[in-house]
């Protein structure tokens, strides 16, 4: 094949294009919530440290720390997700489970042509390093159609790039919307509910019919407190080869993450965050504009000490949403007294450099 033909084929394969990676924060560089959370285990479900990486821990006595950890032994990468087992559990009940996943919106996946006769192959690649060899399961989970495809992989004590190609699925189109359509999952510990079936590698199956094959044959991250898992360079792309990991500027990754989660944190003890006005002596409203349009109208959480800075400072007795839109929220604040109707105000941290608010529109 001539060089021109090779180039044309490469472009046509879509592997030469930017934005080839469906994963956001695959280099594990953004951790808006926290750099480390300890004591995770049974019942902890959701996003705790690295943005876009969801944890599900169920039913086990095992406990672990999830952290964004700096690395210097994998050229090109500076951070990883690091799971450290802190309480072992070697008596595995049927409903026990530990899964990492990255969920993706259906409207971003239409080029997979899933559910058509020309469905694309999908390659998942990632770097993983563990304290000993483990067999774990990597899965693509189609939430729209309750279908799943699983493939085992075996880790080593060195950074190893794993490349796992999944056949295209001609059944079950993904929704063209902002909902959770497809996720890439790593099963790290599971009981018989998830391991009791028959493993059929790289085969799309109905979850409703055979949900117990999701984690067949895997080892257990909880089998010793010596256990560590490090993960970075996660990439999901079209095609049957893993191309070079697509690095991007931190500002680009951060904005992509903020479509799903945005956290404002004080830099000093008295930082102003939201401007607004006083409705009467005890109620005030403010507006906050998001740095990027969020996936949905976000939920708000608030932490720390706040005051309402208007005709003097009034300690905030309440701070919640009043109304939420994709790109703007109106907040509602209360004080016990002392505000003047029609006056402007600022929501300001009250001698608290750890105060924060967060907006959540996760999948």
């Amino acid at each position: 094949m001539s060089k021109a033909a090779e180039l044309a084929a490469l472009i046509g394969s879509q592997t030469a294009q930017g934005n080839k990676n469906f994963v956001i924060n695959g280099a594990m560089n953004v951790a808006q919530r926290s750099a480390s959370v300890t004591g995770l285990g049974d019942g902890d479900e959701g996003y705790v440290t690295l943005d876009r990486i969801r944890h599900t821990a169920a039913a086990s006595a095992g406990r672990f720390t999830s952290a964004q950890t700096a690395i210097s032994d994998l050229p090109g990468f500076l951070n990883c997700l690091h799971l450290d087992c802190t309480t072992a559990d070697t008596s595995i009940a049927s409903s026990e489970l530990l899964v990492l996943e990255h969920r993706m919106e259906g409207q971003n996946l239409q080029q997979l042509k899933k559910g058509t006769s020309s469905a694309e192959r999908i390659t998942v690649s990632f770097y993983m390093k563990t304290n000993k060899a483990f067999t774990f399961m990597c899965a693509l989970n189609d939430y729209d159609n309750n279908r799943i495809n699983t493939q085992q992989f075996t880790t080593t004590t060195d950074w190893t790039r794993h490349s796992i190609t999944f056949v295209g699925d001609t059944t079950g189109a993904l929704g063209d919307d902002s909902g959770n359509s497809l996720s890439v999952e790593f099963y790290l510990h599971a009981g018989a509910t998830y391991t009791g079936g028959t493993y059929s590698a790289n085969t799309w199956q109905s979850r409703q019919a055979s949900d117990n094959m999701r984690a067949v044959g895997i080892g257990s991250f909880y089998d010793s407190t010596d256990n560590d898992i490090k993960l970075t360079g996660l990439q999901v792309e079209i095609g049957d080869v893993a191309t070079a990991f697509e690095h991007e500027e931190i500002s680009t990754t951060l904005l992509k993450c903020q479509r799903y989660y945005f956290r404002w944190t004080a830099d000093s003890t008295y930082d102003s965050a939201i401007s607004g006005f006083c409705l009467n002596s005890t109620q005030a409203f403010g507006v906050y504009n998001m740095p990027v349009r969020m996936r949905n109208s976000p939920t708000m959480g608030v932490g720390g000490n706040w005051n309402i800075f208007t005709n003097g400072e009034q300690a905030a007795t309440g701070f919640s949403l009043n109304r939420s839109q994709h790109d703007t929220v109106m907040t509602y604040m209360t004080a016990s007294s002392g505000m003047t109707a029609g006056s402007g105000c600022l929501m300001r941290t009250n001698n608290d450099d750890d105060a924060y608010f967060e907006f959540i529109a996760e999948l």
Partner: protein, 59 residues
Amino acid sequence: MIITNAKYHKDVLTDNQNSVVNCTINGKVYSVPMVVGNTEYDEIQKQVAAGTLTIADAD
């Protein structure tokens, strides 16, 4: 998701209708907009439908 202490909040500026559910989720306080597709609100609706969660009226 463990959801407790759920209570409606009314938007007194716009239409005086319930706009938000203030609640505790897994031990932390959140304001959840009443919008389908918001993950927390979808879960609140599931738990209300299942009879395991009751939302108190707004003040």
